[in-house]
Symmetry: C2
């Protein structure tokens, strides 16, 4: 139950330093620190993904790096801090994707398509992070847990708004908008369960096809002599 004192290397405030050479040194040190943090996180992601958070000891993480446990404690205050860092990276990835596609223009159909596509890609590109996040939610501090809920609500709200816009414009026909948004979220969230790298489809192909399916679920039905062919 030790206080979770953030235990980063002393190096801070590189810019404030008077000597230019010393400034370079400081920033170099920061870079090295960051690199080491990244390597620790990356090893932890790999192991947590395969063995679960509780099922992985910090000694294992250290061993995977060819280091020992105190090395990790130099950069993270506790095992839980490490998990929080992993999860917050997962959030950051999702947020990046969201922001990228927010700046897009186009019809509701186009937008929905790219939302689904981008999010599936983001989830697949960070599969381990995403899986760890959802699996280890109970291990997280309440504060961190609230963050992910917020993100999910955000996603749902945006999708709902988009669907309603599509209905207003006559592009979509949906009986229950909220359920439809959950269906779409399902396709995104479940992707890591079935997608296998090196399989029949690339991530991009998988994301595209899923997006097309999402679209066909909500689009107004039009007369068609033949079904769509990808």
């Amino acid at each position: 139950m030790a206080d979770s004192v953030q235990r980063k290397p002393r190096a801070r405030r590189a810019a404030e330093d008077s000597s230019p050479r010393s400034g370079e040194r400081e920033s170099m040190r920061d870079l090295v620190s960051q690199l080491k943090r990244d390597r620790i996180v990356s090893a932890a992601v790999d192991l947590f993904y395969r063995q679960g958070y509780a099922g992985t000891t910090l000694d294992e993480v250290a061993k995977a790096l060819g280091m020992t446990k105190p090395f990790i404690y130099q950069y993270f205050g506790s095992k839980n801090d490490l998990l929080a860092e992993i999860c917050s990276r997962a959030i950051r990835h999702a947020n990046d994707a969201l922001n990228r596609l927010l700046s897009q223009q186009g019809s509701p159909s186009d937008k929905l398509s790219s939302i689904v596509c981008e999010f599936i890609l983001s989830v697949l590109n960070n599969q381990a992070n995403a899986v760890i996040y959802s699996r280890e939610e109970t291990e997280l501090a309440p504060k961190d847990r609230e963050m992910i809920r917020q993100l999910r609500r955000d996603f749902d709200r945006r999708v709902v708004a988009l669907l309603e816009e599509g209905i207003a414009r006559g592009e979509f026909a949906i009986a229950d908008v909220r359920v439809a948004s959950f269906a779409i979220a399902s396709m995104v969230g479940w992707a890591p369960v079935w997608f296998r790298a090196g399989g029949r489809l690339t991530k991009e192909e998988a994301a595209d096809r899923m997006a097309a399916l999402a679209l066909s679920m909500v689009e107004v039905k039009r007369a068609a002599t033949e079904g769509p062919r990808a």
Copy 2:
């Protein structure tokens, strides 16, 4: 690492006993044993669901029952046995649902609709079991893990077969059948994530609407002046 000796109460083979009264006793004892096993499982499901498998101690499970740890060991050989029992119940539930709907007749559309509906209901009715299963997969013995994979493959194969039949009959129009089957599996598997008991929808309503969405995703598009209204 003790051998996982199955440690059930001695009571066995009630039917073979010569005395009728004694036979009743034996069966009564079996019933009591079963009841206690059920209560242990139920308490464990509740705690594993909320705190995770590794995050829950057997002392907590026992306490929730107003009992002590050796009580649990009377009925289960190890903590892992208890988890395996929970997971195999989840499988059994899903299998029941699958069998029930296998005996149904009707068009591919009807069948798909009831498959999705039944499975979502099954998953929602055993939410905790289902969530524990998917979350704690890594904790399971390889044998048990293989079982769930098999079940998922079964589900996918059946859905694929059904979709292909629907295409052959001209009811469905699908660009990529396997991706469509994954999309449908997503809707089933993700349901516990968003569904809240006591919310706007009952389980049955939620399942119905999701099934309708699944259908509209794969059905041949027909001319329509107005979108569907539930």
